[in-house]
């Protein structure tokens, strides 16, 4: 029978879940909601008697100090303070098949109580008791907009005790063939679309030809295997394609221009991102663009590896689950690199729509940006924290165009013993799946990521969304590394996009592999062979294990309750053979699976945009009178400089992200030695985090990132250059050397089948080559996500081209690190680097409603020696603090340094190194230009001479002095006081909360 147990916080104790729900409901403008109490509902099916249910409840479900419970039935306890007239109930339960982590823990607890045998299932729901006079429509809105997500949950309104039957699911084997051999073009496109295969006509034709030669139709699972393996997500077919580009060609690429003036790029990836790494040939690059993560040398015993992934589409539909499995997935990349790296650091970068967007402006089918952000942050938090991996570097960016298609980048760094890089499954090795069970979750994730999101996406792709269970993955990581250290397996990879299909196919690429689907452990019955094979259920890894090691391996996993199962073996016939209960359901040549994909051919074009810019007088002519007026105002400078600065500091892209940072455990593992928040009160914006991967050693890693979609609207070439520069500035600002820095690229773009989108992508990629080579910094890994668009039903909104550059640097001794907070009065403040009249894409112009065109350029011949010289001065201990200049320019950086250190500062603009027309040497330009490769550096007077000597031929000037006056004072070019702002005022602006409460 089924018991329902309801647990609630006692009247006298605050109920956190209820209070959060109340805030979220009122946030929707439903003022009638006066109070919410959250009730945890446990549904226990089995043969327990009532006393046993009470034992189970009291020992496991209840915190007796702050909670009380009831088992509904005759004479049940009444909670008058929480229910009764004027109180509505909204019950939310995960749909059947959706991961419920509580279930596993509850069953484990029941086992310890010797009650496991009497229990068939334990499931949970959450009931909200909402006090207030809410209409049915308001209750529905509260349920769907604040409390539940249709993709994964069901809702029952004002139904007191819902019963949830246990579904008996069945599956009867029936081999499905897809009639492809005679299909015409329309028919093939229909098959691709309806199957969410995301295969183009040319790709479908290639498959058709192949099966014509075989003289049979493909089975459904064969088609799925090909679709997964050939997906953009898995093979980057666009970037590896043959592309012709029309438009202005950056310097240095002229020799690839054909007689028609088009730039011809045969395999963009190989020529740009990978090409730079090949050219640089750094001896410390161990494995690049091959394994699940890029590997570089760390110390005598270890390498480190780094991977950044995106999980955009799932996060758009179900932010919590999407981000949850995004971080869970990327952790498995280092874990599946070489023979397995220990995950030691997470990074996260998010792009959302504006948080203050009016509810009615949110396009149908999209969630409100605030809800997306809350869900995404909670998803990363709950997974990362439970994994015991610090999350200590990241960024958040807001733009209206991310509303329907937010971006969620998750990164992970792993520590890999030097002898664990090489791996290869050998014929005769067993294929062992380890970790989570397989369910109907995450089906079509790999191909879904290539589909445009629409107002209907929630409905068609619910299956692509999953919830993770971090503890399963934590157990896998703990035991896997033990097995690795005993050398029990020859190869491994993670089950990510494409599930077992891609994992087994990839490992057996050189040998051949066969698998029996019926051996794969399932979460529940009723799955077809295809669903099982392509499911992207989380927390699974695949190992190749020599048979003689199997017993020892199994014992390790069993000892910590990790499920491991032999599902097949690696062969030597070059075939991928998959069976279900002995019936062959797929039989494909590995060569066709991995090399049969036809080359993508793409056309790209780019025309420079024209935006009015205050610094380009000719541009005013074409501008509206309003814009021309704004240009004049921007050029004249703000009436109140302090006010302009305060507004920039409070801009969502600049203001403090402390609300997010603190929710992550950023120092578990005891290795975070420069935290993400720094300064006298531990709340200033650190430039990069520094960790010591080996406890007790001072050798470290600095990790930073760069991203600036605003510049990309003007020119993705310079935007990419600036993103690289920014990531390297972060690294340099904490005292790490760019000479030991590697970078990663993550391109998130709109639909690159459109030439304009591909054009901006080409330009960004070209810059990646030019600046990686220019700075001498190799790319080691990357990923692209190329269909980030949202169709509202009326129009398609494309995200701004968004390139994330992540940087990782090896530091010899972390004790040389510096932070950005000013350290004390009486020190000199230097500006390192050249300021140019570059206001395009700046926060300053945003104050005037302008984009501008004078986007910052990176002059790499100067930038590289600046960063090298600065590193050298930090190494020598000459520097007390250092902050890079980015969004908001010098004024913003100076303010951040001053309030983070609670040290006053006076700056004069007269000595600022400037290069450009005299007429543009203006206070506003010097204060707010976002020119690249610049730093503010605090140096004690006694170190001044030695410091300056390092910069002999480079732009450098002393621009200020620290003091104890508690204000930021800036003196303009004419010697006039531009501002004298109390630090408290500037800091308060910067601390404007991201979300209320």
């Amino acid at each position: 029978m089924q018991y329902r147990i309801e647990v609630v916080h006692k009247k006298e104790w605050p109920d956190p879940a209820g209070l959060s729900a109340l805030a979220d409901i009122r946030d929707l403008g439903i003022e009638a909601a006066r109070d919410v109490r959250a009730v945890d509902v446990f549904l226990v099916d089995g043969t327990l008697d009532r006393d046993e249910v009470r034992t189970l409840t009291e020992k496991l479900f209840l915190d007796p100090v702050v909670q009380q419970y009831r088992i509904p039935g005759p004479g049940q306890e009444r909670w008058d303070w929480a229910e009764g007239p004027g109180v509505h109930s909204i019950e939310v339960k995960r749909k059947p098949g959706v991961m419920d982590p509580v279930q596993q823990s509850a069953l484990k607890g029941a086992e310890d109580l010797s009650l496991r045998d009497k229990i068939e299932a334990i499931r949970t729901a959450r009931k909200y008791l909402v006090r207030g006079d809410l209409s049915r429509a308001e209750l529905e809105r509260a349920a769907w907009k604040a409390l539940a997500n249709d993709t994964i949950e069901e809702v029952h309104i004002d139904q007191p005790e819902v019963e949830y039957p246990l579904h008996e699911l069945r599956y009867d084997f029936d081999l499905v063939e897809v009639p492809l051999v005679q299909a015409d073009d329309d028919e093939m496109l229909r098959i691709s679309r309806e199957g969410v295969l995301s295969l183009s006509l040319e790709e479908m034709k290639t498959i058709q030809d192949h099966f014509r030669k075989l003289g049979r139709h493909p089975t459904d699972v064969e088609l799925e295997i090909l679709a997964q393996t050939w997906s953009e997500h898995c093979v980057h077919k666009t970037l590896r394609g043959h592309i012709t580009y029309e438009g202005p060609v950056p310097e240095g690429w002229e020799d690839r221009v054909d007689q028609d003036g088009r730039l011809v790029l045969d395999n963009l990836l190989a020529l740009t991102v990978v090409g730079a790494t090949t050219k640089l040939a750094r001896p410390w690059c161990v494995s690049v663009f091959e394994d699940n993560a890029g590997v570089i040398e760390f110390d005598d015993a270890y390498h480190v590896c780094f991977k950044v992934e995106t999980h955009n589409h799932p996060s758009a539909i179900e932010p919590y689950g999407g981000a949850n499995t995004g971080i869970g997935g990327v952790i498995r990349d280092p874990l599946g690199t070489g023979l397995g790296a220990k995950p030691i650091l997470n990074t996260d970068v998010f792009c959302f729509g504006p948080l203050d967007m009016a509810e009615e402006d949110v396009p149908r089918g999209a969630l409100h940006p605030k809800r997306v952000m809350k869900g995404v942050v909670a998803g990363v938090r709950d997974y990362g924290n439970r994994m015991g991996i610090p999350t200590a570097n990241g960024a958040v960016y807001f733009d209206e165009r991310y509303t329907g298609n937010p971006l969620v980048y998750c990164g992970n760094i792993g520590l890999l013993p030097k002898d664990c890089v090489e791996k290869a499954a050998r014929p005769g090795d067993l294929a062992v799946v380890v970790g989570g069970r397989t369910g109907r979750d995450g089906i079509h994730g790999a191909t879904f990521s290539s589909v445009e999101l629409t107002s209907e996406s929630e409905e068609v792709s619910g299956g692509a969304v999953q919830i993770g269970n971090a503890i399963t993955e934590k157990k896998v990581a703990d035991t896997l590394l033990k097995a690795r250290d005993r050398g029990l397996y020859t190869g491994l990879t993670d089950c990510g996009a494409g599930g077992l299909s891609c994992a087994v196919g990839e490992m057996g690429q050189e040998t051949g592999a066969e698998a029996e689907i019926q051996h794969i452990p399932l979460k529940y019955q009723g799955l077809s062979y295809t669903e099982i094979w392509i499911s992207e259920a989380q927390e699974r890894m695949v190992l190749s294990v020599p048979p003689e090691n199997l017993d020892e391996l199994m014992e390790i996993f069993q000892s910590e309750d990790v499920e491991a199962t032999v599902i097949g073996r690696f062969t030597d016939d070059g075939m991928l053979r998959v069976k279900y209960g002995g019936n062959v359901v797929a039989e494909l040549e590995m060569d066709f699976v991995h090399k049969g994909l036809p080359r993508f051919k793409g056309r790209a074009k780019w025309e420079p945009p024209s935006f009015p810019d205050p610094l380009v007088e000719e541009s005013w002519a074409e501008a509206t009178s309003e814009q021309a007026q704004a240009c004049r105002k921007a050029l004249a400078g703000p009436d109140d400089c302090a006010d302009a600065l305060a507004r920039i500091l409070a801009a969502p892209n600049v203001r403090s992200k402390e609300w997010i940072v603190r929710q992550y455990d950023h120092e578990v593992q005891g290795q975070t030695v420069v935290k993400p928040l720094v300064g006298v009160n531990c709340d200033g914006p650190g430039d990069a985090c520094v960790i010591t991967p080996v406890l007790g050693s001072h050798k470290g890693l600095a990790v930073g990132c760069g991203l600036n979609p605003k510049y990309a609207d003007i020119d993705t070439y310079h935007s990419a250059a600036c993103a690289i520069d920014e990531a390297l500035r972060n690294i340099t600002a904490v005292g790490a050397p760019i000479e030991r820095t590697a970078i990663l690229d993550n391109f998130c773009w709109g639909n690159t089948r459109r030439p304009e989108q591909l054009g901006t992508l080409v330009r960004a990629a070209l810059a990646c080559y030019d600046y990686a080579v220019g700075f001498g910094v190799p790319f080691i890994s990357g990923k692209d996500s190329l269909n980030n668009e949202f169709n509202t039903g009326e129009e398609t909104i494309s995200i701004p081209p968004t390139l994330l550059i992540s940087a990782i640097a090896v530091m010899e001794d972390v004790r040389h690190a510096v932070t950005m907070d000013l350290k004390g009065p009486g020190n000199l403040l230097y500006l390192v680097g050249m300021t140019h009249p570059e206001l395009g894409g700046s926060h300053y112009l945003e104050l005037f409603g302008l984009t501008g065109i004078t986007v910052p350029h990176v002059r790499v011949q100067r930038a590289r020696p600046i960063m090298q010289a600065l590193w050298s001065t930090v190494q020598r201990g000459l520097v007390r603090s250092c902050h890079d200049l980015s969004e908001g320019g010098m004024a913003t950086a100076a303010a951040e340094m001053a309030f983070a250190g609670a040290v006053g500062l006076e700056i004069s603009l007269r000595s600022v190194p400037y290069e450009g027309p005299d007429g543009h040497r203006l206070d506003s330009v010097l204060l707010f230009s976002e020119s690249a490769s610049r730093f503010l550096v605090e140096v004690p007077p006694e170190n001044a001479a030695a410091f300056e000597a390092e910069f002999s031929a480079l732009p450098l000037a002393q621009v200020g002095l620290t003091n104890d006056a508690g204000a930021l004072t800036i003196v303009g070019l004419e010697g006039q006081k531009l501002m004298e702002a109390p630090l408290g005022r500037l800091k308060a602006a910067w601390l404007t909360p991201l979300v209320g409460r």
Partner: protein, 263 residues
């Protein structure tokens, strides 16, 4: 003779390695032991003089922090634990370990094995990682000196200490079982964020009436090296991290009071 420390692991434990490192810095010999292995051979506990339950999310904390592991200890390891404690040995719970000890009833331990207090959700409703100050009132813990001050990080979602009744709170106060209170930098009581979770009476850590069971929410193992201090780039590197003191005191206690370990 070395002091032997058992660091208990289970699914979701995640501060075991830094806790291990801290005890090694303090001069102890350590062993990371999974609860399954300990259940299979509980007699192993006699080899150790200190048992630590480190931080993490045991079994995901899915049913409330520490609940499932507390239930497991109660149902499977109660007798060996009882024996261990009767021998005057030390039991320390940090963060999730503290939550476990409270939910087993070992802390505050006015009636051993009956839960009389809890660590519930922070007033902020969310997980928070931040550094705060601790001050030790007059107390009976063998590991903490009266008046001692510490600077440590907390990192938890369920750290608000609440007693079952005023009477329980009065007793633990009167018996000197409050070991650490959250304070501001000057050592004075202060609200949020210095008290990061809304704990009653600013309680950050408590001991049992014998003083040999200690539980605390902040993480001393995350401040055992000079570079752990978030302000070392401002203030320079100290000789060692402040949190190491607790580990040193534990090792010293065993050496002095428990004599040469049996073995």
């Amino acid at each position: 003779m070395p002091v032997n420390v058992l660091i208990l692991r289970t699914a979701g434990t995640n501060c075991d390695q830094e806790t291990d490192f801290a005890f090694q810095l303090a001069g102890a010999d350590t062993a990371l032991v999974h609860v399954n292995a300990l259940r299979a051979a509980p007699a192993r506990m006699s080899e150790f003089q200190i048992l630590v339950i480190p931080g993490g999310f045991s079994y995901g904390d899915d049913l409330g922090a520490g609940k499932v592991l507390a239930n497991e200890l109660l149902s499977s390891l109660r007798e060996p634990l009882e024996r261990f404690l009767d021998q005057g040995k030390l039991l320390i719970g940090i963060c999730n370990g503290f939550q476990v000890l409270v939910k087993t009833g070992l802390l505050p331990g006015l009636e051993r094995w009956r839960q009389q207090a809890t660590l519930t959700f922070n007033d902020s409703h969310v997980f928070e990682d931040r550094w705060t100050y601790l001050a030790a009132p007059e107390n009976v813990s063998v590991l903490v000196g009266d008046g001692e001050r510490l600077y440590l990080p907390v990192a938890h979602a369920e750290g608000k200490f609440v007693a079952e009744s005023e009477e329980v709170l009065r007793q633990i106060r009167d018996k000197g079982q409050i070991v650490y209170r959250y304070t501001d930098p000057e050592g004075k009581p202060a609200g949020y964020p210095w008290n990061p979770n809304g704990s009653v009476d600013d309680i950050a850590g408590i001991c049992d009436p014998t003083g040999r069971i200690l539980g605390l929410m902040p993480h001393p193992e995350r401040h055992c090296l000079p570079v752990h201090d978030p302000r070392w780039p401002r203030e320079g590197l100290k000789e060692e991290g402040e949190g190491l003191r607790i580990f040193r005191r534990a090792v010293q206690f065993v050496e002095e009071k428990l004599g040469a370990p049996a073995g």
